[in-house]
């Protein structure tokens, strides 16, 4: 029972001020570590302030003090009861070489699922074009894909001027941002229990399959590989990883076969989802550069074999990176 409120506040104010100061320091320096004596002091201050809050809660005349103490206790509670790993200083190289590929491998099943959906879409799109070439405008509602492949190849190979001259950089930037937006959208649609993500992946697959069959059917396989491989071997996996992130989100939402509460499941995956989508962003920056500066140039400017070889090397490096980078070395028994 507080007999004299003014005296109580005057007595306790130094405690609150000290706790507030320590909290400010902890929040400003997430990387900092308190010595044991200070940790003990911090805990003492928290307990005392929490007790003060309990005492003042019944006191009608001090709404501001109550609110101040609630805020202070809430902040200290967050610091003390946080069980997740404290965020350390961000090391970009370590994140790139370890965290990102490790996270990818940790959720490899979601990636395979993403890949399977895209392949199913490819098969559907390819078969649809093979059996009904008139379906092209429905499957690929993009004007630049509707052109006859053989005619396009002839135009590209006989071009006398660089049609991207003077706006390669801006074209590259447009590709990067557009593809990143599509990837984020694919991830975000995971919140529809994965339905939206699956539709996006399937539709991407449909377009890819339809374009591939259209060019192969026209006898332009070499052009197709030379055109798509340099950027596609990075861009397509990037979309697949975005789909992987969306599916991780969806699996956490559905929680099939798991007894942990939804909140816990989502808490477990939020870091991984952020990591994957940041990695996707990096991949798409690279793909954007390559698409603007290399993919759009064909024979005789750049031989198809060079472009295909470049794409092949990229693919091998990407697979090696995602499967091996950051892997723990096996210790002999």
């Amino acid at each position: 029972m507080i007999v004299n409120l003014q005296k109580f506040i005057a007595n306790e104010r130094p405690t609150w001020a000290e706790l507030e100061k320590m909290l400010g320091r902890l929040e400003a320096e997430p990387d900092g570590r308190l010595p044991l004596a200070q940790v003990q002091r911090f805990h003492q201050l928290y307990e005392r302030t929490a007790a003060d809050l309990a005492r003042i809660t019944t006191f009608s005349s001090e709404p501001e003090t109550r609110r101040f103490l609630e805020n202070l206790v809430a902040r200290a509670y967050g610091e003390i009861h946080e069980t997740r790993e404290k965020q350390r200083r961000f090391f970009p190289l370590q994140w790139f070489l370890k965290t990102w590929p490790q996270t990818f491998r940790k959720h490899i099943r979601a990636f395979y699922f993403s890949l399977a959906i895209t392949l199913a879409g490819c098969a559907f799109g390819g078969l649809a074009i093979a059996f009904d070439p008139d379906a092209k405008p429905v499957l690929m509602p993009f004007s630049h894909l509707l052109q006859d492949p053989a005619r396009r190849v002839a135009e590209e190979e006989n071009a006398t001027h660089d049609r991207l001259a003077g706006h390669k950089t801006s074209f590259s930037a447009e590709l990067m941002t557009h593809n990143t937006k599509v990837s984020i959208f694919t991830l975000a649609l995971g919140m529809t229990w994965g339905v939206g993500t699956i539709l996006m992946l399937f539709y991407n697959g449909v377009i890819l399959g339809a374009v591939a069959v259209d060019y192969i059917h026209a006898g332009e396989t070499k052009f197709l590989l030379g055109w798509l491989m340099p950027h596609g071997v990075v861009e397509i996996p990037a979309i697949l990883i975005a789909g992987q992130a969306g599916l991780i989100l969806a699996f956490a939402l559905i929680g099939r076969g798991r007894r942990t509460p939804l909140r816990t499941r989502l808490r477990e995956i939020s870091g991984d989802v952020s990591t994957l989508i940041c990695g996707v962003g990096l991949m798409l920056i690279w793909a954007g550069f390559i698409e603007a500066f290399l993919s759009q140039y064909h024979e005789p400017v750049i031989p198809y074999s060079v472009k295909i070889a470049f794409g092949g090397i990229e693919l091998v490096l990407l697979v090696l990176f995602l499967t091996k980078s950051g892997a723990k070395e096996k210790t002999s028994a």
Partner: protein, 258 residues
Amino acid sequence: MKTSTLIIRTPEGIVFSQLLAGPVTRFIACFIDQLCIHAALTLLTMLLGLLMVLSINLAAAFYVIGYFAVSIGYGIFFEWVWRGQTVGKRLLRLRVMDVEGMRLQFNQIVVRNLLRFVDSLPAFYFVGGVTCWLNSKNQRLGDIAANTIVVRNPRVAEPDLDQVLAGKFNSLRQFPHLAARLRQNVTPAEADIALQSLLRREEFDPVSRVELFGELAAHFHAKVEFPAEATDGVADEQFLRNVVDVIYRTRPETAAAG
């Protein structure tokens, strides 16, 4: 059940509450943020105007990337640097926090901001707004995925006590020990009812006013029994004034009311 307050009970048994921000307040904050983004993009365009002298191509590329970075990164940047607040949220005294009162992590900020892509569908945050309206903690999809809530920290205004208490003699203060007990026994809700009834007394018609103050006075009489010399001849409304004076005027310099 839909509620406007999130109650958090610590393992030590301490309970503290956070006021949840509603969809309308959040939408206004979001609108302010959109204006800020627009202002930032206008500034970017002006700066890139200088770069256009050197290369139109480069300026266009910077604009595309800048537009993307500002529109996606604005929320992430400010919520991280200002610990859960953007310009709009700061102006409306809103703050993003962890749903369990834990420390807000960078991952949570990234996830809740990236999921705006779905929340903003099909336009004007319709999906997010409906979800927020239906959700018991006023969460949009991004908040659900990131385990975050948006709380409101309203400025607690000091009641204008002079308006109702000025110059009145308070017979209850002649018994300081009983006055202290009254302060202890009255809950914040009861104190607020008493204060509001006095502040809004002119809004009641005379009969209702007499009835209301009669009921309230009886209620507070039952809380602590004061000696007859403190209450005899004191009208119900005056008694209530004295009660509010005892509860709210606890500072030494104002304690000697009357």
